[in-house]
Amino acid sequence: MSFDVAPYGAFIWPAYAVTVIALGGLIVWTIAKWRAAKAKLAALEKQ
């Protein structure tokens, strides 16, 4: 398994970076919305 990407590093790493950011952001956002919804429902059900 090799990380030697010469001479195309300037393209490969940004591509992977943008993928990690986009998919990571999507995952984080999805989980955050889920947690918020659960918390809200729990608060309402307690009443």
């Binding site: 398994m1 393209f11 490969i12």
Partner: protein, 237 residues
């Protein structure tokens, strides 16, 4: 014919079932993507592209998911119109942002792949162009959902839009491919993938699909819980 499906489509039951499945689904997703990445970085450089072939492993899956997610949205929309099932409404609505992200990713990674390959950041070839159009289809769908106040009406109206768009997608792809070959200047990446790259490519495609399913399930569950909360609030009012 789909009665068995609808028994599990009861929102409460769905919440229970999906909750049990989700951890396994997430685990398999991580494993698959991890394996795909390992295989990808272990593969030798392509004799033509060098190591930019690594971008193919994250570009092609994103691009195919752009279409797969839209088709899932369309199927959910069909159930929404025909069966008027609330889970179908939710499923269709929640798929759209995921599809839009995949589409944007396909365009961005495609651009970064294209620069070393063809020398330009953008190429009006068949695939990139129809992906761009597909992005606008997602945008329009979400915009329409957000613009209509009544949720049930929004679900049915957007279901029609999703289905009309879905029928159009093969037509758009065909017309764009037809146009691209008409204006063919630069050489386009051939569809032929060397066998040594098929392993990581297919694995990543599978991984991306599993990621979609995982995220989709969580979003549907979120919407169900949000609805419950809203009903509770409404009951108190």
């Amino acid at each position: 014919m789909f009665d068995w499906l609808f028994r599990y489509a009861n929102p409460a039951r769905f919440l229970g079932l999906s909750g049990a499945v989700l951890p396994w689904l997430a685990a398999v997703t991580v494993l698959t993507i991890g394996t795909g990445l390992y295989l990808g970085f272990s593969a030798p450089p392509d004799y033509q592209q060098g190591r930019t072939v690594l971008i193919m492993f994250i570009h092609v899956p994103a691009a195919s998911m752009a279409t797969v997610v839209y088709l899932s949205m369309a199927v959910a929309s069909l159930f929404s119109l025909v069966n008027r099932h609330i889970l179908a409404d939710v499923a269709a609505r929640t798929a759209a942002p995921i599809g839009a992200v995949f589409t944007l990713l396909a365009l961005a990674t495609g651009s970064l792949w294209g620069k070393p390959m063809w020398g330009t950041w953008w190429e009006w070839d068949g695939r990139m162009t129809s992906t761009l159009v597909q992005f606008f289809l997602y945008l329009g769908y979400s915009a329409l959902w957000n613009a209509i106040e009544d949720e049930t009406k929004a679900a049915r109206i957007c279901a029609i839009l999703a289905l009309v768009g879905a029928v159009n997608i093969p037509i758009i792809k065909f017309s764009v491919d037809w146009w691209a070959t008409l204006h063919q200047g630069e050489s386009i990446v051939s569809g032929h993938v060397a066998p040594v790259f098929l392993g990581p490519l297919l694995t990543m495609m599978g991984g991306y699909f599993l990621l979609f399913l995982t995220l989709w399930l969580v979003r549907i569950r979120t919407m169900i819980v949000e609805r419950r909360a809203r009903n509770l609030m409404g009951a108190e009012a």
